[in-house]
Amino acid sequence: MALSNPGGSRKVCYYYDSDIGNNYYGQGHPMKPHRIRMTHNLLLNYGLYRKMEIYRPHKCNAEEMSRYHSDDYIKFLRSIRPDNMSEYTKQMQRFNVGEDCPVFDGLYEFCQLSGGGSIAGAVKINKHQTDIAINWAGGLHHAKKSEASGFCYVNDIVLAILELLKYHQRVLYIDIDIHHGDGVEEAFYTTDRVMTVSFHKYGEYFPGTGDLRDIGAGKGKYYALNFPLRDGMDDECYEQIFQPVITKVMEYYQPSAVVLQCGADSLGDRLGCFNLTVKGHAKCLEYVKKFNVPILMLGGGGYTIRNVARCWTYETAVALGQEIPNELPYNDYFEYFGPDFKLHISPSNMSNQNTMEYLQKIRQRLFENLRMLPHAPGVQMQDIPPDAVVSGSDDEAMDDPDKK
């Protein structure tokens, strides 16, 4: 059962499939699943591998994906291949597959693995079998119900949260990717059972959403929180906004599970424009960990792959409460980390366009919105016919509420 040890050491379940790293989006495409393998090899050679439960997730199936995604979209993802693309031109347009989200060999299996890992992690948390579950192959936060977007096809985060919602009244989603977590926000825009909090670069930046004024709709009003940021965010500034906002959110919302999307493009990155270091990025996790709520940690963006591997390796260590040396251990991809071969990175000398004044004003506005929240909103306990529970195999019985 859950080991709640405030001292820092936590039980960690880690999900990984060795096939993930061989998925290749295409020439010149910045998204490289190989970074997940680089992380994995670093974990092994740092000795962290031996300290956590390692799982190979099962591929999730189309039916599980369809809990969020539309059937025809999943059917399309299942059928499309580089060699039959020409037969699907219309659907490719409709589902936004082609340019940013190319068709590549093994695309569907890639989605299955990423989704399978996140769902498995959520189930693990539901079962109280772990404090923290990690799936670096997940965190694909841009995917929409019937649309691929921003290198994401299947939204493993939404699938995992849907799984968590079976046993958790309130789930908090925190997104520290440099891009706005629009897919997750949209999926839960009208519900108060999931609160989405995203810190991201805003203004002439993908995906264009994430305005301070986007706060949710209907029942979900005030349950979406967006912190728009400008270029050059550094560790110090990030800490000064992340910690107070999360403290308040935790206080008001009192979630029983947290999903943390750890997109590493908020470090100095090929596609990013923030200036966080590995330490600053991991401070967010350290802080969330303090609340003693089970955490599902997921990957996300990150396009300077050596830094992604550094970041996620260090964050795995933080999750485990382990100190690891700055000197990188030898591994198959050691040469990638030259010339210094160190774990931590220094910030660049780029200027930070986020003034204290700006950050404080936004923070103030977000606090005002948070005050609109009733403390820890309850959901009516659903009347579940006893046979549904008895019929056992949890997921299947609960998948389809319409059946009952």
């Binding site: 399978g116 919602l165 959403t209 991809y333 990638y336 659903q382 509420p401």
Partner: protein, 661 residues
């Protein structure tokens, strides 16, 4: 200091495209070294308010108003002056890319997306800071707000599953979500695991000795040992322990099955040298298009194994060498560039004459002393700016004060005609009801220098003058030409009055202007030294202007060609023209009998009061004289009869009086 002169990708900078125009504001996207050794900056363009059309500005202001509603109330009450300066701080982002020499950089600035929580005043207080909220498309001439939308509807949201049990999972074990490959809660100590790892690697080294492929490629024992220590063997070792339930004895026997010692090879080791050569050849040909590489070079490999090999190959020496070559190629791409402060004097700088500031006051702030002066505006106007206002103009593309308050300040200065600033007229400042569009139309009609300026009263304006006697006293305002008129109030009253009494006479007596032929004939009698030919030439020009003018219901003012209007002695022009007296103008083009051209006419004119005019004045009643002064374009009705007769030519001074500016 060095860091302020170091320009990096992503910096917002001032670019100087022309010495007299304001700087352009750009964002550096790329810095490239050209073959000639110069640095070219690829930049994103920002536009100022002055760069986009008025109709778009109206749209932009409407958007800003919507946004203001969201803003803190404190920020909305801006004075006119603050609004005016704030307009200089607003930019429009575009997606237009431009390439400029880095030496044109003149400093850094900052451009940020305006956030509704921000106090606009914070932009006023900080120099070199700009904001934007809209994106401008220079090709389509459109503005758009760059804000994405979260969609709401069952097509977009997830269906939320009901809560089964908040207290946790009560179901049975999930059948097949995952497969465990390592459990840290095992019986073995860290040391035992380490020992088993060494055993596994030793077995691997021995297996390589037995494997003929490997023994050829790895003749040295330590190379085999290194190969047996690669990550694939380590992963396999741990999995092997887990599979044998962390029983070392069982695990060891699984390392040495009946088929021989366990050999784990990754793609790096598995590929033969010839395959590696093929791969490098293919990579050169196709780049990283692994599908093509597989099809044309390595059909017996899977894409996955090619990808895996590729990422491992990147750690090899051969790749490192290639990378160095590439790095040399990429040297042209710079991350930053050092541009020293620009010290060359601007050509607009006025060379000090004995250190004295002989000239007009600063157009921007009306100060009369400055350590440097710069010419500003059209060259013939001789306007100048003090050093501070010049910097303000270069950076923000305007003058510090809004035109209305400048007009007030200019009260004691003579009017200098229209100036560019009128473009920035804030919507409600209402410079004057009568000035609507005047200056611009005047320009268009006569193609004249900027000084040409006349007031054009449209029908509606004239109607409003009569109707709105409540808010608008024409006498009051005509005496105080610099007082701002509340145009909105007049519009409102006008609308009320028009709707309440629809039978208001909207017809005005059509002004009777002499036909063109009469004007020309008079012109000829005035200027006997003009040849017929030259008049004909200029006539065609005058004619077109006259047509435009009459079409637009303008007064036919002598704004074109040689017909002049003076601002200060308005009484003279028409009157003297009528009775054929002399008025002579200008820098002596007539002397050379040059063809009159509407563009080269000067505006400065002098009224020479001859004895004859004095004589006429004496004959006119003082009341008529006054009325003539007020209506300079009107004929003098009570003119003594004899004056209408064409004057005898001998009275005309044949030599023009030449006045230099």
């Amino acid at each position: 200091m060095a860091s302020s002169n170091m320009y990096r990708i992503g910096d917002y900078v001032y670019f100087e495209n022309s010495p007299s125009n304001p700087y352009s504001i750009r964002r550096i996207e790329e810095l490239n070294k050209t073959s000639s050794g110069n640095v070219e900056a690829k930049v994103i363009c920002f536009y100022r308010r002055r760069d986009i059309s008025n109709s778009l500005l109206l749209l932009a202001d409407k958007h800003a108003k919507d946004m203001e509603e969201d803003m803190d109330e404190a920020s909305t009450d801006l004075s006119e002056n603050e609004r005016h300066q704030l307009n200089h701080k607003e930019l429009y982002l575009s997606r237009q890319l431009d390439s400029l020499p880095a030496t044109y950089i003149r400093g850094k600035c900052s451009v940020t997306l305006l956030n509704e929580t921000e106090d606009l005043k914070s932009y006023l207080n900080k120099s070199d800071t700009f904001f934007y909220s809209l994106v401008y498309d220079p090709a389509q001439k459109t503005l758009l707000a760059d804000r994405g939308e979260i969609r709401v509807g069952c097509k977009y949201q997830a269906e939320i599953p009901p809560l089964i049990n908040e207290n946790g999972y009560d179901g049975k074990e999930d059948e097949s979500r995952e497969e465990m490959v390592w459990n840290p809660n095992n019986e073995l100590s860290k040391q035992q695991v380490d020992q088993f790892m060494v055993i596994s690697r030793s077995v691997g080294t021995f297996a390589r000795a037995l494997d003929c492929n490997s023994s050829i490629r790895q003749p040295a024992l330590h190379v085999s040992a290194a190969a047996a220590s690669r990550d694939i063997t380590l992963f396999h070792t741990l999995t092997c322990l887990h599979k044998n339930k962390y029983n070392i004895a069982d695990a060891i026997s699984s390392l040495v099955p009946k088929t021989g010692p366990m050999l784990c090879k990754d793609e790096m080791e598995d590929w033969s040298p010839s395959e590696a050569n093929l791969f490098e050849e293919a990579l050169e040909k196709y780049g990283k298009d692994f599908l093509d590489i597989k099809q044309d070079f390595l059909p017996w490999k899977t894409i996955a194994s090619i990808v895996e090999y590729y990422y491992m190959w990147k750690t090899s020496d051969r790749y490192v060498q290639q990378k160095k070559l590439k790095a040399a190629e990429a040297e042209g791409k710079l991350k930053q560039v050092y541009i020293p402060n620009y010290n060359k004097p601007n050509p607009n700088l006025i060379k000090p004459v004995n250190g004295e500031s002989n000239g007009k006051a600063c157009e921007g702030c009306f100060c009369t002393s400055s350590f440097q002066w710069y010419t500003w505006g059209p060259p013939n106007m001789g306007c100048r700016l003090c050093a501070t206002c010049w910097m303000y103009w270069k950076k923000y593309g305007g003058l510090k004060m809004p035109p209305s308050s400048r007009l007030e300040r200019m009260h004691n200065h003579k009017i200098k005609g229209t100036d560019k600033e009128l473009r920035y007229r804030p919507p409600n400042s209402g410079v004057a009801i009568v000035a609507t569009g005047g200056p611009h139309r005047a320009q268009r009609i006569s193609h004249k220098t900027k000084q040409a300026f006349f007031l054009n009263a449209t029908k509606l304006t004239r109607l409003a003058r009569r109707l709105c006697n409540e808010t608008f006293s024409i006498r009051h305002y005509s005496r105080r030409p610099f007082e701002a008129i509340n145009i909105a109030a007049i519009k409102a009253e006008c609308q009320v009055r028009l709707s309440s009494s629809p039978k208001v006479t909207t017809k005005f007596p059509q002004k009777k202007w002499p036909p063109l032929s009469v004007v020309v004939v008079r012109l000829l009698t005035l200027r006997p030294q003009l040849t017929h030919q030259s008049v004909k030439k200029s006539l065609s020009k005058i004619k077109t202007s006259v047509e435009v003018a009459t079409n637009n219901n303008h007064h036919l003012l002598p704004s074109s060609g040689s017909l002049k209007r003076s601002h200060h002695n308005g009484i003279a022009g028409q009157k003297m023209g009528d009775n054929g007296s002399i008025y002579r103008v200008s820098n002596g083009p007539q002397k050379k009998k040059r063809c009159l051209n509407s563009t080269d006419a000067s505006d400065d004119m002098l009224f020479v009061c001859t004895d004859r005019i004095r004589d006429i004045r004496k004959r006119i009643k003082s009341s008529d004289q006054r009325s003539a002064a007020r209506k300079p374009t009107k004929f003098l009705i009570n003119m003594p009869k004899f004056a209408m007769k064409p004057p005898p030519t001998k009275h005309i001074n044949p030599e023009p009086i030449v006045i230099d500016d």
